[in-house]
């Protein structure tokens, strides 16, 4: 399901899982700095990128998200020391799995955004939205019930 | 009320109108202005070079003479007020110059700046009082929108002149209110009129005058009033050289309005007003 329910050009729905310490704070900084990015992005706050289960991502696609972003602290800068390393490994696997299912790799992205990178947060969200808008609605994994 | 009075050269010649109206009004208000016996020209500009004493010795003579009579020294001309007050300030604060001046003048008694120099406007405000003045007005200038023009000499430098709030003065407006007129506030009221630049650089002064006149006009003034013969000349004469090419705003000495409000003008003069 897309953001605008009305008929019109396709607007993708993007869910971003952001770790509380870096990327969510980076998103806050983007706000404080009034750096605009598309409203298609909806952020879910999690303590660490390592607590984002693949289930959450699959569920998002299943329920109609056109793209999913997981954002965490830069490698080495994890608030919990090592969480993002686990996340990185796990998501590499998930990315391959999604590709295997025939999904465009752009639909699931992992980014490292620090608390001081408000501009990067806005840029990543803008870029992702544009890429997915170009790809069109996601059809894989969708719950058609 | 009795005061020493220093007229100055200009009031005895080209600005006779200023002096006559001021003296007439003073008499009507019961003020006695005793003209100093041997006054000399104040020099028109205050010498700015440190250690130069010769140019203001004449001022010191007048100041000392006033001190001898124990009276405040009243001036009507803004330039004379400026020069006398600054000369007095130097005598009060610069011991070196003071000693030199005294040595040179060989006065019967040493002069150290004891005289108080006041302007005719201050006389009206502080000695007569604007409320009293308002009561004595016979023909109030009700409904007349008049812009006060202060110029430089009364106000600056502020620390020495201490005439009024230099950046936001009110004495002339308060004076106009006392006469029953409406005072027009406009941003150019404390600007420089161009002073003596009109001797050789009329075009510069014309430009400065144009700014002042236009500012007053755009704020609704029907006339402009001043307290300095040179401001008066520049505003009146160089207004004709402004791009409009003619006088658009009548220019008065403040004492002319005083005279009118106190109903001291003879019939012929009255016809000319406004």
């Amino acid at each position: 399901m897309s953001v605008n329910l009305k008929q019109g050009p396709f607007e993708p729905l993007i869910i971003a899982f952001c770790c509380n310490w870096c990327s969510y704070a980076g998103g806050d900084l983007a706000g404080t700095g009034r750096m605009t990015y598309p409203a298609n992005v909806r952020v879910i706050r999690v303590p660490c990128s390592s607590c984002v289960s693949s289930n959450f991502i699959l569920r998002a696609f299943q329920r109609g998200a056109d793209g999913v972003v997981v954002a965490g602290c830069h490698p080495g800068d994890c608030h919990y020391t090592s969480g993002n390393y686990f996340a990185r490994r796990r998501f590499l696997l998930l990315q391959r799995f999604l590709e295997f299912l025939g999904m465009e790799p752009e639909r699931f992205q992992v980014h490292w955004i620090s608390a001081s990178e408000g501009n990067r947060f806005a840029a990543v969200m803008t870029e992702t939205t544009e890429k997915i808008r170009a790809l069109g609605p996601n059809r894989k994994l969708r719950d058609t019930r | 009320m009795r005061f020493s009075y220093y007229p100055g050269c200009t009031l005895k010649t080209t600005a006779a109108l200023l002096e006559n109206s001021a003296l007439k009004a003073a008499r009507a208000l019961g003020i006695e202005l005793i003209e100093q016996e041997k006054w000399q020209c104040c020099g028109a500009v205050f010498p700015l070079a440190a250690l130069e004493i010769a140019p203001f010795l004449s001022s010191v003579r007048s100041l000392a003479a006033a001190k001898d009579t124990g009276e405040k020294l009243v001036t009507i001309c803004a330039a004379c007020y400026h020069v006398l007050k600054r000369a007095n300030h130097v005598m009060k604060t610069d011991r070196d110059v003071c000693t030199k001046a005294n040595n040179y003048l060989q006065l019967p008694e040493q002069y150290r700046g004891g005289t108080e120099v006041i302007h005719y406007l201050e006389l009206l405000r502080d000695e007569v009082g604007f409320p009293t003045l308002a009561r004595k007005v016979k023909k109030p200038l009700t409904g007349r929108k008049i812009a006060a023009f202060y110029g430089c000499l009364l106000l600056r430098p502020p620390a020495v002149m201490q005439f009024d709030n230099a950046e936001n003065p009110s004495i002339m407006e308060d004076f106009l209110h006392a006469l029953g007129a409406a005072a027009v506030d406009y941003p150019y009221r404390t600007e420089c009129c161009g002073v003596y630049l009109s001797v050789q650089n009329e075009e510069i002064v014309a430009e400065m005058v144009a700014k002042i006149i236009n500012s007053a006009l755009s704020h609704g003034a029907e006339a402009i009033v001043d307290a300095c013969p040179l401001c008066h000349y520049n505003l009146l004469e160089l207004q004709k050289k402004t791009p409009q090419g003619k006088s658009t705003l009548p220019v008065y000495y403040f004492t002319e309005l005083l005279e009118e409000a106190l109903d001291l003008k003879d019939k012929v003069e009255e016809k000319m007003a406004f």
């Binding site: 706000g31 404080t32 990015y37 909806r42 999690v46 390592s50 607590c51 959450f56 800068d77 686990f86 | -």
Partner: protein
């Protein structure tokens, strides 16, 4: 059925300008479980909070959502509001419709739709919130201060004076830091050593302070109240107890090396104390340049030491200690000028950095305080000071202002002119920044009383011209390009973070900014705390600072540490993992991913079909768990859940957003 309240904040116009508050409130009122939805101009205000409290009572709310600014801003505020109204504080959720919505979107329709979606997610999460209770963890009443400059010394003294034990770890052989290198201090021109050395002595003799000089922190484990640090005491090769500091050893030592303390402007020995007032007044052997250690010859120091304190066999000592709080005060470095060839720095001895100039001015410095040109030992008549060398330079240097250069350059001008009243000082500046008590007045004295010619602009090139230096610069105020023949050129070189600051940050689990300065928890409201609880920042390691600022930040950090250390117990965040033992299969995959070793195994007894069976399950130590949630993902049967962020809650959020 849950009774959820939704409170939408306008944040003045911050939210209300971009988000249709009425539409959002109306939509929220219709969300499942929501029995009340309202809005107010400033929800965080006293009035806003009392509106929430009275709604809780009036509408019998059992949980609520505030749609407002970031939870990082006011989550704790609204949790307190809940507690005040008798609700468990963890039954509160925040929908961030300011930073993540109204501030980043311009289209009101889109922003309103997004705000509704975010609130829907928060409501879905709130519906699954459970009451949570904080647990108590004990506090180790000892502080670790890293860095022995003025910041570290001040923090250590303050904490020790409050009655707590402090370990002060300094990497170099003596405490004192950069301040010990300075000649005079602005704006009072106090002699730097005169005000610093008493503090150094006080730190050394304080019964509650233990100095670890020539030592480094190698590892830090644990968490607030319970850190465990590994400290390496490098082998000094001199016995701290036996040595009397008589100085015979370094007099006799035949190896000469450039002195770090004198910025390489003088030589020191291989066995040395960095400067005469060093604390402790005990030398170290620099083994890399010592003949005994490099060639196994010499040994003069050991032979001559009357106390028999020299010990070539001494080894590094590694100790582990527990701390409740850590203060980081590791200071700064000076920018390397290799990329700034136009100043001829390093090519001509009369071109100096300001820190080098400081040493030349100093009476204990390489020239004994005589200000002479390094090239020919003659007195300089014309000295050109160039400010912003590498500062405010986003191409080759650092984009930030180094903050102290305007003031110390004014100080240098004054000290120079005091020595040579007939000489001329020139200062190239871009802006003069003298925001500090008596700072502007001090700067104006350099200009007006000491006649320094301040030239607005920079110097484009400095090069030798005969026995002088020709400085080509500009005075942008007059529009004149200038040439000045100088005897000496002093470069106000940028301050930068310590080159190994990122490593230390990693070790401590704190973050650094783009320039490797340590990041404070909040730039305005929590300027002395790091993001990690229990770690505090002091001095230039957090950003360029002068001495008074460093000292006040150090005292601030100390005060924060004292607040922590004076507690018997800390309340831990209840948002930690829990194991559902009935689901746990005992695979213990969670133990491998836990960064805090907070998960252990335990054996439980169960009765199955009337038979007692023992089996292995995972158990979370709530004092150690920091709530990252790594374990929840690693758990195959889904037995581990993170309280406050359960799998069910996040799934519900996903569903709500996709609706």
């Amino acid at each position: 059925m849950k009774r959820i309240g939704v409170f939408v904040c306008w944040c003045g116009t911050n939210i209300a300008n971009t988000v249709n508050i009425e539409a959002v409130t109306e939509a929220a009122g219709k969300m499942p479980g929501v029995v009340y939805a309202g809005n107010y101009k400033y929800m965080c205000s006293e009035i806003g909070q009392s509106k929430i409290k009275s709604a809780i009572i009036r509408e019998k709310l059992d949980r609520f959502v505030v749609a407002s600014c970031s939870p990082r801003m006011h989550e704790s505020t609204f949790r307190k509001t809940a507690a005040a109204a008798g609700l468990n504080p963890y039954l509160v959720e925040i929908a961030n419709i300011r930073e993540h919505c109204s501030w980043v979107h311009k289209n009101k329709g889109e922003a309103t739709a997004k705000a509704i979606a975010l609130i829907r997610a928060a409501v879905a999460k709130a519906a699954r919130d459970k009451e949570l209770w904080a647990t108590q963890i004990p506090v180790e009443h000892r502080a670790l201060v890293i860095g022995g400059g003025i910041g570290g010394i001040q923090a250590a003294l303050d904490i020790a004076d409050a009655g707590f034990e402090v370990d002060l770890v300094e990497r170099t052989p003596s405490i004192g830091g950069h301040m010990a290198q300075l000649d005079k201090t602005f704006p009072t021109l106090d002699c730097s050593a005169c005000i610093l050395t008493p503090k150094m002595g006080e730190a050394a003799s304080h019964p509650k302070i233990t100095l670890y000089t020539y030592s480094e922190v190698e590892k830090v484990d644990g968490y607030v109240g319970n850190f465990e640090a590994t400290i390496r005491k490098k082998a000094r090769s001199v016995d701290l107890e036996k040595c009397t500091g008589c100085g015979i050893c370094w007099e006799k030592c035949p190896s000469r090396v450039k002195s770090e303390f004198d910025e390489a402007l003088s030589m020191r020995k291989a066995i040395y104390i960095p400067f005469p007032q060093a604390v402790p007044n005990v030398p170290v052997i620099d083994r890399a340049s010592c003949r005994w250690f490099t060639r196994e010859k010499c040994g003069i120091c050991r032979k001559t030491c009357p106390a028999g304190a020299v010990n070539f066999d001494q080894e590094d000592e590694v100790l582990q200690k527990k701390y409740g709080a850590i203060v980081v005060a590791t200071g700064f470095d000076v920018l390397d000028l290799d990329d700034f060839g136009e100043y001829s720095y390093g090519k001509h001895p009369d071109v100096l950095t300001s820190l080098e100039f400081e040493r030349i001015l100093n009476s204990s410095g390489p020239t004994g305080g005589r200000l002479l040109r390094p090239s020919n030992q003659s007195p300089p008549k014309n000295v050109v000071f160039i400010q912003c060398v590498g500062s405010r330079d986003k191409s080759r240097g650092k984009p930030y202002c180094s903050k102290i250069c305007c003031m110390y350059s004014a100080k240098h001008v004054i000290l120079f002119k005091e020595k040579y009243p007939e000489a001329q000082a020139y200062v190239f500046y871009i802006d003069i920044r003298t925001a500090g008590k008596d700072f502007e007045e001090f700067h104006r004295r350099a200009v007006e009383e000491y006649g320094a010619l301040y030239l607005k602009g920079s110097a484009g090139k400095v090069f030798p011209d005969g026995d002088k230096l020709l400085v080509k610069g500009v005075d942008s105020l007059s529009g004149h390009a200038l040439e000045i023949e100088a005897d000496m050129v002093v470069l106000a070189t940028a301050i930068k973070a310590k080159s190994d600051a990122p490593q230390l940050a990693r070790l401590l689990g704190i973050s650094t900014d783009t320039h490797a300065f340590f990041m404070e928890a909040h730039p305005k409201l929590r300027p002395v705390e790091a993001h990690t609880a229990g770690i505090f920042l002091a001095g230039a390691c957090q950003g360029p600072k002068d001495i008074p600022e460093t000292v006040s930040q150090a005292s601030g950090a100390a005060a924060k540490a004292i607040v922590l250390l004076s507690k018997e117990n800390l309340l831990s965040d209840p948002c930690v993992s829990e194991v559902n033992e009935s689901l746990c299969t005992g695979c213990l995959a969670c133990i491998k991913v836990c960064p805090y070793s907070a998960i252990t195994e335990k054996t439980i007894e169960e009765k199955i079909h009337g038979k007692a069976l023992q089996r292995r399950v995972a158990e979370v130590n709530v004092a150690l768990c920091q709530g990252c949630g790594s374990c929840t993902v690693s758990c195959r049967p889904g037995a581990v859940n993170l309280k406050g962020f359960t799998n069910e809650q996040i799934m519900a959020e996903v569903d709500a957003i996709c609706l």
